[in-house]
Symmetry: C2
Subunit: 151 residues, 2 copies
Amino acid sequence: MNKNEALILLRAKGFKHTDKREDILELFEESGGYLSAKEIQTALKDAYPGISFDTIYRNLSLFKKLLILEETELDGEKVFQFHCTEHHHHHLICLRCGKTKTIEVCPMQDLSKLDPDFKVTGHKFEIYGYCKDCQEELRRSHVKTERAGVH
Amino acid sequence: MNKNEALILLRAKGFKHTDKREDILELFEESGGYLSAKEIQTALKDAYPGISFDTIYRNLSLFKKLLILEETELDGEKVFQFHCTEHHHHHLICLRCGKTKTIEVCPMQDLSKLDPDFKVTGHKFEIYGYCKDCQEELRRSHVKTERAGVH
DNA sequence: ATACATGCAAACAATTTGCATATTA
DNA sequence: TAATATGCAAATTGTTTGCATGTAT
């Protein structure tokens, strides 16, 4: 799912095209990963100083219902990203910037019958860490901190 | 970790042995799986009609700090179970009763370098479904429902 | 006796809802 | 215009905190 598909789906279902909706979807397109309600509010408050959390929550929940977005929990925070429709896969998730990268490996394929008595209905496999850019950033700020600590 | 180890650890760290603490730990021992604050309150309100959520939350958070319990998110609900100390492993989690069963397979072992640019710091692998008992229960109540629906 | 534990009430944060108003189709 | 979207304020839920009191060591 992406912004354009989402806008088409919204129209098809009789929901209206508003600037805020478009901008929220735009954010997800730019981010390419997970965003929380708070991150959305922060990102949009320049364009819409009075934007309210109700609107953000209502739209997130609408988008979720329409399967435009999917929701996960990251570090105790509820976060959303575009729903992945094509095929089943998993993600590398950067703990600093929230960007995700798809990996095509699914551990369940090899584990079909681990326990014959347990009826499997779903699974979650997520890999956490730091993307290349954030590793750079962290190294940089760490060096800075170390220097500051010398004196 | 289990109840007795936990009680010993509490004493060793200078925390007191109270009936409520013991009963909370007992619940985790009986359950053998995940429990939420609400489930604990429900289970203990016969023995302690006035038990407050503050006490439960304070104890859960203490237990977590002492590594007696570990926390996860299950279906948007925060749940706890005894911390697994011995070795790294994953769980089959029953969506009905919350019981967990350890599996000794870890998908990360085979995936060490999926993406050389991404620095992996952790992962989550959980398998959801229904344990044998709950499959029975669900089948039973489903049959009952169907019969009720006939007339 | 002293430190830790608990209950109460209040504070908080995240999210949801009712209602009046504004906006899109 | 008719239906949906939004903001506001208030309600709800889950969780945390300050303070006075109770209890284990």
